[in-house]
Symmetry: C2
Subunit: 131 residues, 2 copies
């Protein structure tokens, strides 16, 4: 589903989009809560911290796309923007996202794997230049 | 997608499930943010207040299923539990939810319509007794 038109020329542009980050905030929490619910076999709600998301961005090698002085909160926003972008553009749907995230005990590892997967799939599609 | 097994005998039981409410919190915000994003034509993130959800529960005629002294926060939890239950059980999927919510300017009206739709569809399926 595309609730709005997205036109981005680069991954960097997506990462720095505040509106997408704003929408992505609830999506990231929902997706991770679903993954942990599936892992535990019962519903649970989790708020993913900025620290975890910022660390995952770094580990996925995407931190370098942001300006050097970007603070942790903005780094986390970048993750939220990219993850929801991937859902809107059907790069990684909810089921795939949950499957991926639930495989990891460690949340940073879970999100860095998700981010790497999204970046790789976007590159394969050639929709955006991954720079 | 069913991330866990749900076995509920009644609508009341769903409304009072804290774990479902915990998962539903991010889902409700995500769904409403999507609906408003679609309405405005650009991504936006919205946190739906307890006041709005509690009022919608009352307007949908479901408030009476909860104990009389239930506070507003618990009433909002009940909405979050039911809305995410409906998604997990594929009573109302994301697309349908967004279509429904985006039709209303007023958030209370939007959610009371969503709740009524969920209750009606569950009754039609006969999966749970609506009492």
């Amino acid at each position: 589903m595309r609730p709005f038109n997205l036109e981005y020329k680069s991954l960097r542009e997506i990462l720095l989009n505040h509106e997408l980050a704003s929408l992505g905030d609830s999506y990231v929490n929902f997706l991770y809560s679903l993954a942990m619910s599936k892992r535990r076999g019962q519903p649970v709600g989790i708020k993913v911290s900025s620290r975890i998301l910022a660390e995952a961005l770094k580990r996925a090698g995407l931190r370098t796309l942001l300006p050097r002085r970007t603070d942790r909160h903005t780094q986390a926003d970048a993750v939220e923007a990219l993850v929801v972008y991937a859902w809107v553009e059907d790069v990684v749907n909810i089921q795939e996202g949950v499957s991926l995230l639930m495989d990891y005990e460690d949340a940073v590892e879970a999100f860095s794997t998700l981010l790497s997967t999204i970046a790789r799939k976007m590159k394969l599609r050639g929709r955006t230049s991954v720079t």
